[in-house]
Symmetry: C2
Subunit: 222 residues, 2 copies
């Protein structure tokens, strides 16, 4: 794929979903799938799938469909999952601990190397054999171990400074769980996960549905 080709974020965000569905097909022993069948399972149009995959050269064969394992592996490559990433977690509260214990990430190539916190009650504790270190030791650790990615589960007020530091020490990507959009000056890649945004979207949708139901009831009783 030419490095200068622009691919929209919308397409990129659909790729992990393709990967997930293909993984499930593989688990179920399905070796081949038509774009029509895949589209029905995923709830998107077949032409959408073809268009999306054509961004990366296309992988289907007329009259045959997709070879599930091949497509799964190719999408893994596109997503960079054939690489290994050295990861640290900054902020080892409940969420940090949950992420540290999530072995699925490890299996996909995101290898946990270090845990950092400021809380003396947490420092010295071990998770999956990795000791929680004082955040003061982080700079040396990141530089020595050439850390690629940091998961950030810090309080909102602390996260920006830590993020800027990590970027200046050579970290390539930040997975940010703090409720702040990290727009940093450097070219580090930031992926924000705003859990509370998602919860608020849920409450909005619940309310809208209740309003609709009430409106329908009123109509019925007129």
């Amino acid at each position: 794929m030419p490095a200068n080709r622009r691919i929209s974020m919308a397409v990129i965000r659909r790729l992990p979903r393709y990967y997930r569905y293909l993984g499930e097909l593989l688990e179920n022993g399905i070796k081949r799938i038509s774009s029509k069948e895949l589209s029905e399972r995923m709830g998107v149009t077949a032409s959408q799938i073809r268009q999306d995959l054509n961004n990366f050269g296309g992988f289907g064969q007329q009259g045959y469909g997709y070879n599930v394992e091949y497509l799964y592996k190719e999408i893994a490559k596109i997503l960079g999952l054939d690489n290994k990433y050295k990861v640290i977690i900054v902020g080892v509260g409940n969420l940090g601990q949950a992420l540290a214990n999530y072995v699925k990430f490890e299996e996909r190539g995101f290898v946990l190397c270090g845990l950092f916190d400021v809380n003396p009650r947490l420092i010295g504790m071990t998770i999956r054999g990795i000791e929680v270190k004082d955040i003061d030791e982080m700079e040396a650790f990141v530089k020595e171990n050439k850390i690629d990615i940091a998961y950030l589960t810090l309080p909102k007020s602390k996260v920006r400074k830590v993020a800027e530091d990590l970027a200046s020490w050579g970290v390539k990507g930040l997975w940010n769980f703090s409720p702040v959009d990290l727009d940093l000056s450097s070219d580090v890649i930031v992926e924000d996960v705003h859990l509370s945004d998602s919860l608020m979207t849920l409450s909005y949708r619940i309310n809208r549905q209740m309003q609709k139901k009430e409106a329908q009831l009123k109509k019925l009783h007129k």
Copy 2:
């Protein structure tokens, strides 16, 4: 707002972000903001903001801008945050425990009422004063307490059945953390949080950037 008005999911997903930014302005004592200023902070166009808010009747005044506190409260209402929601968590592993300990959600009206798991080692444990109960007791609990929302942090293989059950017992919304798209037959609202999709998007973007940098280097050395 008329109940039958269609508002796009794209607009809806931006609302929590407005809410978050307005909350920060309030914290910093800012009482009034022009749409231009708000747009610069948020990295969206001023016309986008006006368009988005016009879906709900608009809140700005020509020449004055937005009253921050008023707009914050109005968006809270639109998001349904003036309501209280009774919440249970199903699956009290690391992530479930992290969510249970997240008091910010509680402050926004999502009141944790129950915790359920199948693991005998977890049953009987308490988090924030709430005892983890056997999942067998869930049906009675949900019906008696009229639970509104369930956070699902269960293994992929278990989640669909539990979700269908909860929906049939009257739960209105599901916040799903399992790596499955829950397309249920009932009209329960589902909000999926796919953490691994987000992490894969991060690795994709890191790889793309490295490819671009390599391409630039090659050009320089030609």
